[in-house]
């Protein structure tokens, strides 16, 4: 964790959010295994970056994590489209998609953190 820039710490926060999102996603009504995989991949890559301390990986971390979190957020809609429709049409109640909304919100926040991180230094000068 030595010589890390502020950007790296932002990706670390994004990684923590990804980890939390995995837990939140277990509560979502309809789940896709691939979303778990993508989020887990984000966490693993961050861990590798921490322990391996590879310069290239460190520098690409914001891009990789942003892509993974963005994809997870968007892809998770695939099986939830109709349920959202039911809620909008008052066929079902909002509490059935609250977990999903939280999940997507966390993923998007994580992605935005990675965007910001991308513009910052990943390693101390």
């Amino acid at each position: 964790m030595k010589n890390k820039g502020i950007g790296f710490y932002l990706t670390l926060v994004a990684c923590v959010l990804a980890l939390a999102d995995i837990i939140v996603y277990t509560q979502v009504m309809y789940k896709m295994p691939s979303v778990f995989v993508v989020l887990a991949l984000a966490v693993v890559i961050e861990c590798v970056a921490i322990f391996v301390n590879n310069r290239i990986l460190n520098n690409l971390l914001p891009v990789i994590l942003a892509v993974l979190l963005g994809f997870a957020a968007a892809h998770s809609f695939y099986v939830m489209v109709n349920q959202i429709g039911y809620v909008v049409a008052a066929l079902d109640t909002i509490d059935t998609i609250i977990s999903f909304i939280i999940f997507v919100s966390i993923a998007v926040i994580g992605m935005i953190l990675c965007w910001v991180s991308g513009f910052m230094k990943q390693e101390a000068e």
């Binding site: 789940k31 942003a66 979190l69 963005g70 066929l91 991180s117 991308g118």
Partner: protein, 1020 residues
């Protein structure tokens, strides 16, 4: 340099993640392409004509030249159905009102917020927008010239009462009640929505003096909801014994109305049979009118009845019991959970959707078949009918203590005499009865002739209802003194009883059969008993107007038992659905041999190993077998080539055994076949190989439901603009709602086939103007109990009334090329836990009640498709029941229509393998379907390609779909010189363009980032 590097990286991060989201979005968009196209007015399939373009390809033409004409015709019919479906229960001369001299006070907050129809789901009725009028009670009565007490209207419109309204917020909606939500597991609250008497100030009460009171008693209806006897009234300060009984506030309001009015008329605005015995017996209640839930325009028709513009001729399609919980079916209604449920941590899984069951202990004795049969037995002193078991009052069961208004009852402002002239029965042929109706009163009006039958009951033999409806007819408007002879035709097969002993057969026992007419089932039964016993002694009436007349009954004798005429291809199919065959001794069914049994709530069930096979799904696994079916071969054949067209109309389609069908099916690719089945339950997927364009279907029983949001225009594209029924968004009526019709119980109460056929025709017309090929309706389940909050989508507690109504409306639809899709086959008797619920039922009850309701539309093939239900029959999903779909529907009834499932939400009990192999049809899949544990059909293509038996079933099921589509309005615009070309829509192109743009940005950003990194390194 570092700044530049970070900048490129940041840009790359943003563009790459947007790109990832775009890919995911494209995937989602393509999975929902039909929905998006329908809403955006786009299409992927352009029809290209190589002919000279002069051919008339509009095989189903509208009888209207403008959308306005069609919309107004539908409104007029809706008003007519509502007026003919209005039932007069009681009248001491208070009605009709003379609206030119009598002012009216509408009492009840629910007069301001009446229920027009369903609250949510497939028959949602909402206030209309975009300039389309919607008529609550106030609006309708004012439109018809009633002089209403504005002070009372002001009270109900004031802020002070809003907190009591069922609707809570919004307040503009008729029939919307947010408090009454779709909670599947625990429904324990229902707000009646009336206000306390204290809010009626002296000034308000004074304003009602010298006016006629119309007191509105209202209840909601909804998909995905049920009432429960134990619910709590959440209207502040109010309470009730049961939600279908009057609440304290309602009673207080009625008391005030009696005190401050010249006359009191109670208007019942509910499709669930509520408890009104106290109103019937109250001499200060002058009249009771049942309006049901009459839809967007229906209260105009109700107003016409109140004013006498129309003479009431409706007859109620359910029994109105004194106590709504008094039938044996109520012993098992609600939530019953297997001991090994997923919910309780058992070995059933979430995806099994198998936690719940329902045992229909009542056997055949649903609705009036219970009340009237027990009545006969009490009169004849048999079967312990007088026992206190099942009696709601006193120490013995007494009919008049149990029934307020019998099934089929209804009054008029005039009087009619009905004379049964003759009855002809030809076993294996047709039956008919001639009835001469004379208007003996002083007002013109219509009269309903109801024909009932009683089959001979042998003590301890096959269970038989003492009375059952077999047919009906309705006169034209008869002037005072005028007569008309009505011939009621019936099919004698429906007199037979199902005997499941000895393998199963439809049986006509030897003995005396009695036919009778009457104002409802009870009067008809009394007429039979008078003839049968030669005495009217001991016979009781529940209504003052009842006339017992043995000449209104007819005896027909069958000398020898007949168990063959109606038993061709018939054998037991549903024995497994009798819980006693799975777990012996579980339930005692209601029986007329001893009315003291059959009332027990079934103890929690633990499924046997055999039951677990059904509950854990997937009866059929794909295997490697056969040489494979042929797909994707060009025989130069399209679906339209199997259609015979004469004079611009479709006159016939190649019969199902024509070899051309095999060739046509070989044209289809396996991918197309999979897509058609897997995605073809909502829209009908296009099959380009055979020139089948994407076609559209829509809920529901009251009209095209979801077009209430989007309107008639949404499915049209510019390429359709030459069609005569093309609707531009700018059309004055383009955004009007189509789901405007009265609910099914109101329609049933008309007992008027002519009107119902016309309703079907106008739905077919609406389809032509909204470019729909299928309508998911009518609802045809039975009202097993009054507590199903979805009863408004179904006609009646009676299977024959359901049968005949269904045939009438689907005939009308079919004549206009609209594919009727009655639902939900079968046994969808409660909304609570409907998904995957195991319904256990005796085969006789299944066949004589619920299935008889569907039998008409499926044996006469007026239904092009049938939607299967969410529930199981026994432990097997009804949509994957070979016994039901093939053995009964196809082999016994000769059904040539197709099947479709209800919405598949990822539950594996509704899986495409079992559905297809059992003869089911298309799958109405949703996005959640992808979460199915067994995977999707598309993902299993390589395994499917090795399973010849499975492919054969796929083809068979597709064939039934195509056979019906070839007869539908979906062929409009298609000729034998046409072909389909696939094109991308503008929105797909936009996504592709965005993907391209962000791909370029990402590549450039990445390149510049790496360049700056390298440059930075070199500089160092």
């Amino acid at each position: 340099m570092s700044k530049g590097k970070n900048g490129w990286r940041g840009l790359t991060g943003i563009s790459a993640s947007v790109l990832a989201m775009l890919f995911a979005g494209l995937n989602i968009a393509n999975a929902n392409v039909g929905f998006i196209n329908a809403r955006l007015g786009t299409t992927n399939n352009i029809v290209v004509d190589s002919g000279d373009g002069t051919e008339d390809t509009i095989y189903y033409k509208s009888e209207f030249s403008t959308l306005e004409e069609m919309v107004l015709a539908k409104r007029a019919l809706a008003e007519e159905i509502a007026s003919e479906g209005t039932v007069l229960f009681k009248n001491n001369g208070a009605l009709p009102l003379n609206i030119s001299s009598e002012s009216v006070t509408l009492w009840g907050l629910n007069s301001h917020f009446p229920t027009l129809g369903g609250m949510i789901g497939s028959s949602t009725t909402v206030d209309t927008e975009n300039g389309q009028p919607s008529y609550g009670i106030e609006e309708a009565f004012l439109e018809r010239g009633f002089n209403l007490n504005q002070t009372m209207i002001d009270l109900y419109s004031s802020e002070a009462v809003l907190a009591y309204a069922r609707r809570g917020f919004g307040q503009t909606g008729h029939g919307l009640s947010p408090a009454f939500t779709a909670t599947y597991v625990n429904q324990s609250e229902y707000p009646v929505g009336e206000i306390p008497a204290s809010l009626y100030t002296d000034d308000i009460l004074k304003s009602a003096d010298s006016t006629a009171a119309i007191v509105v008693i209202s209840r909601d209806s909804s998909e995905a909801a049920d009432y429960y006897p134990t619910e709590v009234n959440t209207t502040e300060g109010d309470s009730y014994e049961r939600p279908l009984a009057l609440s304290d506030y309602e009673r207080d309001m009625i008391a005030l109305a009696k005190e401050h009015s010249t006359k009191v008329i109670v208007l019942i605005n509910a499709d669930n049979a509520i408890e009104i015995e106290e109103l019937k017996n109250d001499d200060e209640i002058d009249a009771i009118v049942w309006a049901g839930e009459p839809g967007v325009y229906g209260f105009l028709g109700v107003a016409d009845v109140i004013s006498g513009e129309v003479n009431p001729s409706g007859h109620i399609s359910d029994t109105y019991a004194v106590d709504s919980t008094s039938s044996p079916a109520m012993a098992n209604f609600g939530m019953y959970e297997y001991t090994n449920s997923y919910n309780q941590g058992g070995n059933l899984t979430e995806n099994d959707k198998a936690d719940w069951y329902l045992v229909e202990n009542e056997g055949i004795y649903v609705g009036y078949k219970y009340y009237e049969t027990r009545y006969e037995d009490s009169v004849l002193g048999q079967g312990n009918a007088d026992s206190s078991v099942g009696a709601t009052q006193g120490n013995s069961w007494v009919y008049e203590d149990e029934v307020t208004y019998p099934f089929g009852y209804g009054l008029s402002y005039t009087t009619f005499e009905q004379k049964l002239e003759n009855v002809n029965v030809s076993v294996g042929g047709e039956g008919s009865a001639s009835v001469t109706v004379t208007n003996t009163g002083d007002r013109a009006g219509k009269s309903v002739v109801q024909l009932y039958v009683q089959a001979p009951y042998i003590q301890g033999g096959i269970e038989k209802s003492a009375i059952q409806l077999i047919g009906y007819g309705k006169t034209s408007v008869l002037e005072a003194g005028a007569s008309e002879t009505i011939t009621v035709s019936f099919d004698p097969q429906y007199i037979a009883s199902y005997d499941d002993s000895n393998g199963g057969a439809w049986v006509l026992d030897a003995g005396d059969y009695y036919f009778a007419i009457g104002n409802g089932a009870h009067e008809a039964l009394n007429n039979i008993l008078a003839l049968k016993t030669g005495s009217v002694e001991n016979l009781v009436s529940t209504t003052d107007d009842e006339v017992i007349d043995e000449t209104c009954a007819f005896k027909w004798t069958l000398s020898a038992k007949d168990d063959t005429t109606y038993s061709e291809n018939v054998e037991n199919q549903l024995q497994f659905a009798d819980i006693n065959t799975q777990i012996p001794g579980t339930v005692e069914y209601t029986t007329r041999s001893d009315w003291t049994v059959g009332w027990e709530t079934v103890d929690p069930l633990t499924p046997t190993d055999e039951m677990m096979v059904g509950l854990t799904n997937s009866r059929y696994e794909l295997t490697v077998n056969g040489d494979g079916e042929t797909w994707g071969v060009d025989h130069d054949l399209n679906l339209i080539d199997l259609v015979t067209i004469e004079d611009g109309k479709i006159v016939s389609v190649a019969s199902l055994d024509d070899p051309l069908w095999e060739q046509l099916l070989e044209e289809i690719t396996l991918d197309e076949a999979i897509q058609f089945i897997e995605k073809g339950g909502d829209d009908i997927e296009n099959i380009d190989s055979i020139l089948l364009p994407r076609l559209y279907e829509n809920d529901g029983p009251l009209g095209f439901t979801y077009d209430q949001v989007s309107g008639y225009y949404v499915r049209w594209t510019k390429s359709d603009s030459s069609r005569p029924t093309y609707v531009e968004k700018t059309d004055d009526y383009a955004t009007w709602s189509d789901n405007v019709m009265p609910t099914e119980p109101v329609v049933a109460a008309t007992f008027n086939d002519e009107l119902v056929v016309r309703e079907g025709e106008l739905q077919g017309e609406a389809a032509l103007w909204t470019k729909e090929t299928g309508v998911i309706g009518p609802g045809m389940n039975l009202h097993r109990v009054p507590y199903n909050a979805r009863n408004h989508e179904y006609y009646s507690e009676d299977s024959m009334l359901t049968n005949l109504m269904g045939v009438a409306i689907t005939s009308g639809m079919k004549s206009k090329g609209l594919q009727a899709q009655p639902k939900h086959l079968a046994f969808n008797h409660q909304e609570t836990n409907r998904s995957g619920m195991s319904t256990f039922i005796k085969e006789q009850a299944a066949r004589e009640n619920e299935l008889r309701g569907f039998q008409g539309v499926m044996s006469l093939n007026t239904a092009a498709t049938v939607m299967t239900a969410f529930n199981r029959i026994g432990t097997q999903f009804v949509g994957a029941s070979e016994e039901l779909l093939i053995n009964i529907a196809r082999n016994e009834w000769g059904y040539t229509g197709a099947f479709v499932t209800d919405m598949i939400n990822g539950a594996d009990y509704m899986n495409w393998r079992d559905i297809t192999f059992a003869g089911g049809g298309n799958c109405l899949t949703t996005s959640a379907y992808e979460t199915s544990k067994i995977g999707t059909m598309a993902a299993s293509k390589s395994e499917i390609a090795k399973d010849t038996a499975f492919q054969k079933m796929m083809k068979s099921n597709i064939k039934y779909w195509l056979y019906n589509l070839a007869q539908s309005n979906g062929m409009n615009g298609i000729s034998k010189t046409m072909d389909i070309k696939y094109v991308s829509t503008w929105w797909q192109n936009a996504i592709y363009a965005a993907i391209s743009l962000f791909t370029i940005i990402t590549i450039i950003g990445a390149a510049l980032y790496f360049r700056s990194v390298r440059k930075g390194g070199e500089e160092k």
